[in-house]
């Protein structure tokens, strides 16, 4: 049991309660009379999430104030946080580029951006990898499988 369990329990409890009392009543209409409400299973599931999160919080209640907390390492390292940020940024910008300019610039940015983010600085791989991938994808999807990415 760790502090991360305690914190994730709180986050999930809030998530469950917000869904249960705000989002589900607001977003899901009541069904016709005599029919089981469409919100039945979503309500049961978020109710379950809220209850189980509460159990998670209670089980880890003592730990945050305990002696060993300071020694507990975060389950997510700084380099992983950076990786998440890079992935969201590069894929997100690629999506925008796709909407604005199509598949070619988006795919090029996706591959080159990720390679640069991971420390690749050599010109040859930075050119050869996206070119090979794009030609390969073109041959596979447009020519061999007969579909298109547009």
């Amino acid at each position: 049991m760790t502090r991360s369990d305690f914190i994730s329990g709180i986050v999930l409890l809030v998530f469950g309660l917000v869904f249960l009392f705000v989002l589900i009543p607001h977003d899901i209409e009541a069904g016709p009379e005599g029919v089981l409400p469409p919100s039945l299973v979503p309500n049961l599931m978020v109710g379950g999430i809220a209850l189980l999160s509460l159990i998670l919080i209670v089980k880890n209640w003592k730990r945050p104030g305990g002696q060993n907390v300071a020694r507990e390492q975060s389950p997510i390292s700084i380099s992983e946080v950076k990786a998440v940020a890079w992935a969201i940024t590069i894929i997100g910008v690629s999506i925008l580029l796709f909407l604005w300019g199509g598949a070619l610039p988006a795919a090029t940015l996706l591959v080159i951006g990720l390679m640069l983010a991971m420390g690749e600085r050599r010109l040859l791989p930075l050119v050869v990898t996206p070119v090979t991938l794009l030609i390969g994808a073109y041959l596979l999807f447009y020519q061999l499988l007969g579909t298109s990415i547009e």
């Binding site: 869904f19 299973v41 379950g48 992935a87 894929i91």
Partner: protein, 508 residues
């Protein structure tokens, strides 16, 4: 038997054999790469199958799953970096063997054990699934709802570090499956005005996000240490005896492979336990039964055989619940459901009634894949060993590019890529915080069946729970569910107490 011969007739065409061979090769290459598992490989490959026949498509995906399971041993042995967690016990003895200059011997034994475990487990699937499916056809919605509830509890309890976290993952999976138009009233649920969500969250982008994208993000954060291990790879100058598997090695390994295959098959049939449990159990059992346990961890070849046979036996066996009752027992089975649905096949007992020829074609494909695994693995060993040297900064962008294409093709265009990214981040958090993403995915896949049978059960029981007394199978599974929760909660409680005691002991 007639059906099986028919199945072989269908699969033994140059085109289908080529698809299986391609699948095994792709799977092997992906499995060899540290951190890339069979789930990632199969999820990313699904878009390639849209335009081929259902049998060839399933054969390709099964080839990938089998190839990547066997391939993950290569990086475990050469780099001490398992392709996936289930190959971790392989590294315990495989890596020391490689350091002693016996890498080729370990790689070959790993391959032989993989093929034997996989082949026997495939035969078990063929023998067991059809009779079980006949029983499954006799059960109604109330019983099926109870079985689904039991399966989810069992999977949630055993596939993660804590029962509560496993059950949260299951609930979250079912919650996500309710997004879209409700089946009875066509009222939109949790769409928040987004038109694309009315059809629900697309399965393939969700699976690619949770498995492949999340794993790639994790690897992005740790790629430097993996590349460092790769750079240390040295094949050394080994003698011929150190490169081949001798009769003396077989004497130690045959019992280990038999034990590993049996353990892996049983673990595979039980939903949710997964290949890691199988390979660790098999490794532990072989060490316990060994006459030279002191060698384990230092280069015992039977350790490699035990882990690999169990690891590979899990994959075919995990398809037993999928084929017999339509419940995915593993992440591979969950992804295969998506492939089945894309190709117009509903996995479960009705497959044996409606499309027996296809089912036996799949069996034949699985047997062919086992044999091709041996050939491709054996003759391609040198090439696959070279793949481990490709740096992660080249691999990750390529895999993420393929992920994006897969999500795009099956996820309503660019919306699929957005879903993939969102679930990639959720999957990353789930992995790091130890919420079982396997349970989430299985909950997401069986969510619609669960909701449907739950609603049908309420109607059949006239909204009166006491009427369940007339349904002994449903009662049995509800009792099993309660017992599972109780048993796992007690076991976890003891584990936590021990862990707390350990942490309280002052370190000197």
């Amino acid at each position: 038997m007639e059906n099986l011969i028919g199945g072989f007739q269908d699969i033994l065409t140059p085109v289908n054999i080529a698809w299986i061979a391609l699948g095994v090769t792709i799977g092997y290459v992906v499995g060899v790469l540290p951190g890339l598992g069979k789930g990632t490989a199969v999820a990313v490959a699904i878009p390639l199958t849209y335009y081929i026949s259902p049998l060839a498509a399933i054969a390709l995906l099964i080839g990938i799953a089998k190839g990547s399971t066997a391939g993950s041993a290569v990086s475990a042995i050469l780099l001490n970096a398992p392709g996936e967690p289930s190959s971790a016990p392989t590294a315990l003895d495989g890596y020391p063997l490689a350091r002693q200059g016996k890498a080729h011997k370990a790689l070959k034994m790993g391959l032989f054990a993989s093929v034997i475990g996989d082949f026997i487990s495939t035969l078990v699937l063929i023998v067991l699934a059809a009779p079980l499916a006949e029983y499954a056809l006799l059960i109604g919605p109330v019983e099926l709802c109870a079985i689904l509830l039991f399966s989810l509890t069992f999977i949630g309890g055993l596939s993660g570090s804590s029962l509560s976290k496993g059950m949260i993952a299951a609930c979250f999976g079912i919650l996500c499956s309710t997004v879209g138009l409700e089946i009875e009233t066509a009222i939109p649920r949790l769409t928040f005005g987004v038109l694309e969500l009315q059809d629900g969250l697309p399965l393939i982008p969700v699976a690619i996000g949770m498995l492949a994208t999340a794993e790639m993000i994790v690897q992005m954060g740790n790629h430097k240490s993996i590349d460092q291990q790769t750079s240390l790879l040295d094949e050394g100058n080994a003698s011929r005896e150190d490169k081949i598997v001798l009769w003396e090695d077989w004497k130690y390994c045959i019992p280990a492979i038999g034990r590993g295959t049996a353990i892996g098959t049983v673990v595979g049939i039980l939903p949710g336990l997964g290949a890691s449990v199988g390979s660790f159990l098999s490794y532990g059992a072989t060490k316990k039964a060994s006459k030279r346990p002191e060698l384990f961890g230092k280069g015992a070849i039977e350790g490699v055989a035990a882990a690999e046979s169990a690891d590979n036996a899990v994959v075919p066996a995990s398809l037993v619940p999928l084929f017999a009752i339509g419940i995915p027992g593993s992440v591979i089975a969950a992804i295969l459901i998506a492939a089945f649905i894309i190709h117009g096949v509903t996995p479960g007992p009705m497959m044996f009634v409606e499309q027996p020829r296809l089912v036996y074609g799949i069996y034949a494909a699985m047997i062919c894949a086992s044999l091709l695994l041996l050939c491709i693995g054996y003759f391609g060993l040198r090439f696959f060993a070279l793949v481990t040297k490709v740096p992660m900064r080249m691999i990750i962008p390529v895999v993420l590019f393929l992920c994006a294409i897969g999500a795009f093709l099956q996820g309503d265009g660019i919306f699929g890529v957005m879903v993939m990214l969102a679930f990639g981040v959720i999957g990353f958090l789930a992995k790091k915080l130890e919420f079982s993403f396997v349970t989430f995915l299985i909950g997401f896949v069986i969510g619609p069946s669960f909701e449907l049978t739950f609603r049908q059960s309420i109607a059949l029981l006239n909204r009166d729970i006491t009427q369940i007394i007339d349904r002994p199978i449903a009662i049995a599974f509800i009792v099993l569910t309660v017992l599972t929760i109780w048993r796992i909660a007690v076991a976890n409680g003891k584990k936590n107490q021990l862990a707390q005691k350990d942490s309280e002991i002052p370190k000197t």
